[in-house]
């Protein structure tokens, strides 16, 4: 049960500027931690956990479990590149920023897919009528935005995102859009 909302945590992109530490460090690290927990739980939940690699070597493409595994793997790759670039940034900050800027696009798409694919997985459980709702994909996306903004909020207060522009690429006071996102997503979900 728990991995559903943990997975929703993975959508931790915001509309703060590229120079903000919320996006540069906090979001990818928190995402990587929860993605690792999600992956571990998914493998542990398999009937034969030690054979998890067969999802990739003998892929059954009609199953959303398989499609989801590929989505998670692709998102892990994006996060891995992001975290590796943080190490390179120490010596080559300009190069790092230019790559990170482009990494935003696959990151946003894959994080949204990671949050939403469970709806399609649930829909394949044909005997469970409650889970056949066509509202489930937007439902999970809203939950992901809610949880992402909720988790980032304490960090936004801590790093001064409510006070003044942070870094030359930042929007002014990016904490406020984050707060709007939390308020709207939480109330919309109800």
């Amino acid at each position: 049960v728990a991995f559903i909302w943990w997975r929703a945590l993975l959508v931790l992109f915001g509309f703060m500027g590229l120079g903000n530490s919320l996006w540069i460090t906090v979001a990818p690290i928190v995402s990587a931690v929860f993605l690792g927990i999600t992956g571990g739980l998914l493998i542990w939940d398999l009937e034969h956990p030690m054979r998890f690699f067969m999802i990739f070597t003998h892929s059954q493409w009609r199953s959303w479990l398989v499609k989801g595994a590929y989505v998670i793997a692709a998102y892990s790759l994006v996060l891995g590149i992001h975290l590796a670039l943080l190490v390179i940034a120490i010596s080559k900050p300009d190069l790092t920023f230019s790559i990170l800027r482009w990494l935003v696009f696959p990151g946003i798409i894959l994080s949204a897919l990671t949050a939403v694919y469970t709806a399609y997985l649930f829909a394949q459980a044909k005997a469970r009528d409650l889970w056949q709702s066509p509202l489930l994909p937007p439902h999970l996306l809203t939950q992901a935005l809610l949880l992402g903004s909720a988790v980032l909020l304490p960090f936004a207060v801590w790093n001064g995102s409510f006070n003044e522009p942070v870094g030359y690429l930042s929007f002014p006071r990016p904490g406020f859009p984050l707060l709007w996102m939390l308020a709207i997503a939480t109330l919309l979900h109800l």
Binding site: I4, W5, A127, D129, L130, P138, Q143, L146, L153, H189
Partner: protein, 95 residues
Amino acid sequence: MVAGELSLTHATAHTRAAIWEMTRGRYRSFFWAGIILSALGGVLPVIVLAGQLPIMEGVPLIAPAVAVGATPLALLGLALYEHAYVQAGQSVPLA
């Protein structure tokens, strides 16, 4: 979205039974606690944001740090709701 899903006409008896289990049956305490905590988690940022509106000039500003209180409310509220939703979906016997 939750309200919409609950109030729609449900196509099957299985769905109706699952919704009943979630809102009035075995999982009602998880469900309603989740809804109440989520609502509080949503209202708190709205109060802080409302203080920033131009029409609220003269009213003392609420520090954004106060909205951090919404984080545990929203997280716990959603976890409880999801628990109720997933369990209720599996609670109806298949045969």
